[in-house]
């Protein structure tokens, strides 16, 4: 089976079409069910974290090691030539001559796109500022497909910071390929950006704002929670707002049996710990799925043929 992701840069979730997304999810599912071939043996993968991000880095590095790849790289830019004033362009030029692929995270938005244009090997974006974090979206999609048995025609509510939350933006864009219905539950100051609303409208995706979390819980298949950041409000206003967006187990009574709660983590207080014991909680499985989704992505980018997919 031809692999459309072979040697492809993974910079933005917008670069992936429906078939490619489904391929990654299919392979992630296979990998989760059984160990796969050492798809990165004899490959050197550079893990370049110009900005610290422990969970994403460990998840990627675990994925590389499980596929028996070798790792080089750094976990923040403190001891790199960046501190001496080297441009990202030069750093990536140099690193791409050492490694077979580059996983990178960078505090500046657009850094991964620039790196992909400079590098002679595939670049996988592990997050560039507030812009894109495609592997997070892939694990979100994989988790949704896994817990719902499908990606099409789902009702999905996004809750919390919809203005600055890049995970919400990317997931909404990716899901919009699968005919969803969206519900947005957010403080007025943290609504979805208008350009994204316009994108959805142009694609004919149905969305509406709901005034309460309870209203969303009863209607949806997926409740995607995010954190409302304290620093965006004055303390009194924050107390008032945050209390409206805290999910408790009692609020889940009217939920559909298949409804699952997702969260990109880390959570602070937007999901009460008593939700953890609910059958609806799925955020820890979601985090675990990060490694499988990243294994699938790396295997596909670095190998023209995946025999597990040929046999599937």
């Amino acid at each position: 089976m031809p692999n459309p992701l072979y040697q492809k840069d993974i910079v933005s979730i917008r670069d992936l079409n429906q078939t490619e997304l489904e391929l990654i999810i299919q392979l992630a599912s296979i990998i989760k069910a059984q160990p796969v071939s050492p798809y990165l043996s004899n490959k050197v993968i550079a893990s370049c974290f110009f900005e610290a991000s422990t969970r994403t880095r460990l998840s990627f590095e675990t994925a590389v090691q499980r596929l028996q790849g070798s790792l080089i790289g750094f976990s923040d830019s403190a001891n790199t030539s960046t501190q001496k004033g080297e441009t990202l362009t030069d750093s990536i030029n140099m690193i791409s001559s050492y490694a077979d692929a580059i996983i990178m995270r960078h505090p500046k938005e657009g850094a991964a796109r620039l790196a992909a244009e400079v590098a002679t090997v595939p670049v996988i974006n592990g997050g560039d500022g507030a812009n894109q974090h495609p592997s997070q979206t892939l694990l979100d999609l994989f988790s949704i497909a896994e817990c719902q048995g499908r990606l099409t025609d789902l009702k999905v509510a996004f809750v919390g910071d919809l203005k600055y939350g890049r995970t919400v933006h990317s997931l909404a864009q990716a899901l919009s390929l699968f005919n969803p219905t969206f519900y947005f539950i957010a403080p007025e100051a943290l609504k979805m950006p208008s350009y994204l609303e316009q994108d959805l409208a142009e694609k004919g995706i149905s969305y509406q704002y709901l005034s309460s979390l309870e209203e969303g819980v009863e209607q949806v298949d997926i409740l995607y929670m995010t954190r409302v950041q304290k620093e965006r409000f004055d303390p009194t206003e924050y107390m008032h707002i945050a209390s409206k967006y805290i999910l408790t187990k009692a609020m889940l009574k009217g939920a559909k049996p298949n409804m699952r709660v997702l969260h990109p983590l880390p959570r602070v207080d937007e999901i009460h710990p008593d939700v953890d014991s609910s059958e609806h909680a799925y955020y820890f499985q979601q985090a675990e799925n990060g490694v499988y989704a990243r294994q699938a992505l790396l295997a596909l980018v670095m190998n023209e043929h995946i025999k597990e997919l040929d046999n599937a």
Partner: protein, 155 residues
């Protein structure tokens, strides 16, 4: 009469006519960015039959292509371009928005990588027309940081 003379006075070059008043200096700045040595004459607040007043710009020796003129489209969407050779208008066209703007405007997102790396800024252009309200929206998306901006941010 003055307008006719402004066009006819050029031996060879380009006249950008019907530039909205107030935008002439912005156009001038874009042309200078492309060619700091360009010989330019700018007329501001000249009388115009259609709109009352207009700005006008003459560029000596440079025969604009559609692409050259497109770079001015955000500032002067209604302008006309007259390409002059040997005192005669050899080509006349309306300014049209290009698909991309390269190296002309800094990205309004201060955290965009284009501000700190040796790369030209790049924006893709999209237009939407609302037939009911008869409004026309132009949006620019940064190639690097992927943010989308209204054209008013660049004017």
């Amino acid at each position: 009469m003055r307008e006719t003379m402004a066009v006819e006075a050029i031996l060879k070059g380009t006249v950008i006519d019907h530039v909205p008043t107030g935008q002439g200096l912005n156009i001038l700045s874009l042309i200078q960015k492309r060619d700091p040595q360009a010989q330019i004459t700018v007329g501001l607040n000249l009388p115009s039959k259609g709109n009352g007043k207009k700005d006008i710009i003459k560029v000596e020796g440079w025969l604009f292509s559609q692409h050259d003129a497109g770079e001015m489209a955000l500032y002067a969407p209604t302008a006309t371009v007259n390409v002059i050779d040997n005192y005669a208008v050899v080509k006349k066209f309306k300014i049209e928005l290009p698909d991309q703007f390269v190296g002309l405007f800094a990205c309004p997102n201060s955290n965009c990588i284009s501000h700190t790396e040796p790369v030209a800024s790049r924006f893709s252009v999209s237009q939407t027309h609302n037939a009911e309200a008869n409004t026309h929206k132009v949006r620019l998306q940064c190639h690097f940081c992927e943010r989308t901006f209204s054209d008013s941010l660049f004017k």
